[in-house]
Symmetry: C2
Subunit: 226 residues, 2 copies
DNA sequence: ACGCTCGGTATTGTTGACAATATTAAGGTC
DNA sequence: GACCTTAATATTGTCAACAATACCGAGCGT
């Protein structure tokens, strides 16, 4: 069961975290119509905070709510995941460009260190798939915050990444190309270290584009259904 | 006073609409620390739906909420508005490209008709500034929905445009170049009509870039303060 | 036998009261 | 006189009961 993030500020935040992780991890299935009282008993909440959390989830597009008809988790399709990658391509391209212009030298050093640890983890091949995904999120997370563009970071970290994670869990879609991705990450960081925003943007767009094409290939192979 | 949208489905939706318009139009000033009970009496609501609406507004970044410390409308700066335009540039560029690939011929015809009416309005110069802004939103709105990218449209229509409108009201920043903008709009629609996605994206990016530079110029002239 | 209408039931939406916490001001001490 | 401590207050967070609405099944009509 998805537990609350340690010491959530308020009950509503707790409910929000619980539900978000439950939806993202697929604990709440797609299209699942679920009652409020059931959610309350399941997560030890009362309806007040729960409803507040439901509203936030709804406005983020993770679930849909018809008046007096209950809430149901949003249904997903592979084609929608591809659309998400189109958005990531342009937004993270911008993030990389601005990160190249604005990240501090220290942040860039940390970013490189992050990649080093990713490389070590991949070569040890321990907990591969899981860590690969987490490392990927870590990398993109740092670039988003490094852009110093508050709204951009908010949209990426608060909306898109959760969406992508949800789709990946639902469709059991892991990137599945760790070494390639790591090399692409390295080149992006190089461009950032050289303060070459244009190049960083280009490389990031190509990186995400490659990931999208990888998913498209799986669809063609019938591994994923549209 | 900002009234509820006619026949909101639920009290919480009503509260959300009221507050959103109140914030966007500047009826609730920036940094204004305002109590829940005051909001209730002001908009004829009770605290339950209000709190639900506050949560939605918070997750959209229109106001900030510290536990037990109340809510305050987000403070804005001109530099943040510029960052918003950077995001718009890449996202609406994508929207234009996808719209060129996916809009129906009928939608394109409607889009052109929309521009015709804008032109007529501008030449009559009646209610210029207001209509200019509304027409601009109408244009960008149609392209966002025409992209057939649900999440992209949601982010543009549900988040970014409200943000931009808020900043514009707060900073009294109207675009102030109606004829230029109309010409740029026409070229974008031409590209879409020719199903030239690449060109549509390029033109849209340049269009928004020009609007951003216009704001930057105002900042340099001291009209806007950072 | 099938479809439609109508009422019961369960769920959601809303309300008001209760409890917990941050802010504010006053008082005391250094 | 300035700073810290402490208590009163007002505001927020939470909870449980009430009202409104949609869903579901039974009864009736065709």
């Amino acid at each position: 069961m998805a537990e609350a993030t340690l010491q959530s500020q308020t009950r509503a935040d707790e409910a929000f975290d619980c539900l978000q992780t439950a939806i993202v991890t697929g604990e709440l299935g797609p299209g699942e119509k679920i009652g409020e009282l059931e959610l309350c008993s399941r997560f030890n909440l009362t309806r007040g905070p729960l409803r507040e959390a439901l509203g936030r989830l709804e406005s983020r597009g993770l679930l849909v709510r018809r008046p007096h008809a209950g809430v149901k988790v949003v249904s997903v399709s592979a084609s929608e995941l591809l659309e998400l990658y189109r958005i990531r391509e342009v937004m993270e391209g911008l993030a990389a460009r601005q990160a190249a212009e604005r990240m501090t030298d220290e942040e860039i050093a940390e970013l490189q260190a992050t990649l080093d640890s990713h490389e070590a983890m991949i070569e040890q091949a321990q907990g591969q798939a899981y860590y690969q995904a987490e490392g990927d999120y870590d990398f993109h997370h740092r670039i988003a915050t490094g852009s110093r563009n508050a709204k951009l970071a908010q949209m990426l970290l608060g909306d898109l990444y959760y969406m992508v994670r949800m789709y990946r869990y639902r469709l059991s879609t892991s990137a599945g190309r760790p070494h390639l991705a790591l090399g692409e990450h390295r080149r992006i960081v190089e461009a950032i270290a050289h303060r070459d925003g244009e190049l960083a943007e280009f490389l990031m767009k190509r990186h995400i584009n490659a990931a999208r094409q990888n998913i498209e290939k799986k669809i063609e192979e019938g591994v994923l259904t549209i």
